[in-house]
Subunit: 313 residues, 2 copies
């Protein structure tokens, strides 16, 4: 079986031909040029699909289906993109338009975070799972839900806004307008804020900290200093992982999935992060007496997740 | 189609014969006698099924399936009751045992809150929905999740512990051992606590309040005084519905279901409660710009929910 997966990003359009196990057989990418008219972008997507097909010595009729992952809300049933903030595709029935340009191949659309979660279930950290929940810790907190090996996107295509449940009523202001969202405590942006707050406290008290040596505070600053034994960094990491683990345990109590996956930039801390989180999650998971418990891990599909997930959606 | 639904409670065993639309054709109940040996209880359940069948002029061979709703964790696939705190059935494969006593009829088991949610989807407030989430506000906060018209119970049968996501890190102590769970702010018990706290404040400041006239503070005390225009009660209801709406909006952001159902004792406030919650939820729902939004309502199946949901599970 040969499927095409397209990962439509604000900067690049990446696409690949994927087999039924989620293995990418060949891939390529072109710049999105998101400020161009939508027709030009769509033509580039279609051309990329034809290029890949030709590269594999195939014709489009030998492609079983095409999937496209989009950073925004989609209606999987109708094929419409509901909104996508950084690409001029809001309101577009991308499935119909692309299908017409690809000799009538069936085209599906998915939200990119949902597609990435599906990729982890078929070809990554959650291989073999029926039910999986993923959070991506980056500038914000994204998420995806897979139930019975299928993307769950709710009744309007907008489910899995996992960054936007309240962890602290009246707490930190969130980008979404609410206060106290999980995102405001678990994102890379939140970790940077906590690091800066701790640096300020150290500055006021005169406590030395390795974190002060960073040219620019990033989501890695506290983790790196913590590994060197820095006490102030330990306080930042404790505070950050307390909130992150609390949110993860909450989601596990709601979903009890086979696997809970952490993706995004902060997941590069890999097993080091998992080892910090596991005992905190264990202590808060409601099913702590259960025979079968959720496995916590970091994502492994990396930049290919969108292509794989789109192809298999 | 004729199905038997059994609602196994700590006090009574209620059962009914239910058609494919979730309509109860006849029903009956017997005391559970939960302190008796399990064999006696099981024999009573089987006898109740035979009584109902005879009452309808049917034989067991004319019953398509049997379902039993249990207050505890269950493994729907294996048919085992994982734990049920108040009935001596933990570890029992209730499906196999009951099937043997009912001439080999297929028996299914479900958690009672999950079964109640399914009942609302087939025969109650969420009729016609594909995806629904329900919370029951009573002594604690229970919950159920229905996805694609099927109960979602996670990978270990213990999902939908919707009362136990953290709404306030480090907040009120919850019965589960964590701090700040939704249950600790949204249950009837929490409302009683808030009412008592406000009564105490009034007592200290000398403010008059109708709530002081209640012989015993219940979950109705503040609602009743609020309807009479009592200012202290208004503060209690504001605080309670703020927290309840925040939790509901969080769950809607995660699931975006067709319908969000409120059940349990507090749902007797019906449209009065919904009217208080709707603007608060609307303001916090991430999908506020979406064409299709979650409908918020109270449960309608009442005490029959367990029977109907068990039959259709």
């Amino acid at each position: 079986m040969r499927k095409i997966g397209i990962d439509l990003g604000g900067t690049n359009i990446a696409a690949g031909i994927v087999d039924e196990n989620g293995v990418i057989l060949c891939k390529d990418s072109v710049p999105t040029g998101a400020s161009r008219p939508k027709e030009e972008i769509i033509n580039d997507i279609a051309a990329l699909c034809r290029t890949l097909t030709a590269k594999m010595g195939l014709t489009l009729s030998e492609i079983d289906s095409v999937g496209i992952a989009v950073p925004g809300g989609v209606d999987e049933k109708s094929g419409e993109i509901l909104f996508t903030p950084n690409i001029p595709f809001s309101g577009l029935n991308i499935c119909k338009i692309l299908s017409d340009k690809l000799d009538g191949r069936r085209v599906r659309v998915a939200n990119d975070a949902n597609a990435a979660t599906l990729a982890e279930v078929f070809a990554g950290a959650a291989k073999g799972a029926d039910n999986a929940v993923m959070i991506t810790l980056g500038t914000g907190v994204g998420g995806g839900i897979v139930i019975d090996k299928k993307i769950y996107s709710g009744s309007n295509g907008l489910a899995a806004e996992i960054g936007h449940f309240v962890l602290q009523m009246g707490g930190e202001k969130c980008g979404c307008g609410r206060r106290g969202c999980f995102e405001a405590y678990a994102s890379g942006t939140a970790l940077i804020r906590m690091t800066k707050e701790e640096l300020n406290t150290c500055f006021m008290s005169g406590e030395a900290t390795l974190m002060a040596e960073a040219k620019e505070v990033s989501a890695r600053t506290a983790f790196n200093a913590f590994r060197e034994g820095d006490k102030a960094a330990a306080r930042v990491i404790e505070r950050y992982t307390d909130a992150l683990a609390s949110g993860i345990a909450s989601l596990i109590n709601i979903f009890q999935p086979d696997v809970f996956i952490i993706g995004g930039g902060i997941s590069n801390e890999k097993q080091f992060l998992i080892d910090l989180l596991q005992p905190k999650v264990d202590a808060e998971d409601f099913a702590r007496g259960a025979k079968k418990r959720t496995r916590l891990c970091t994502a492994t599909c990396g930049n290919d997740a969108g292509i794989i997930g789109a192809a298999l959606s």
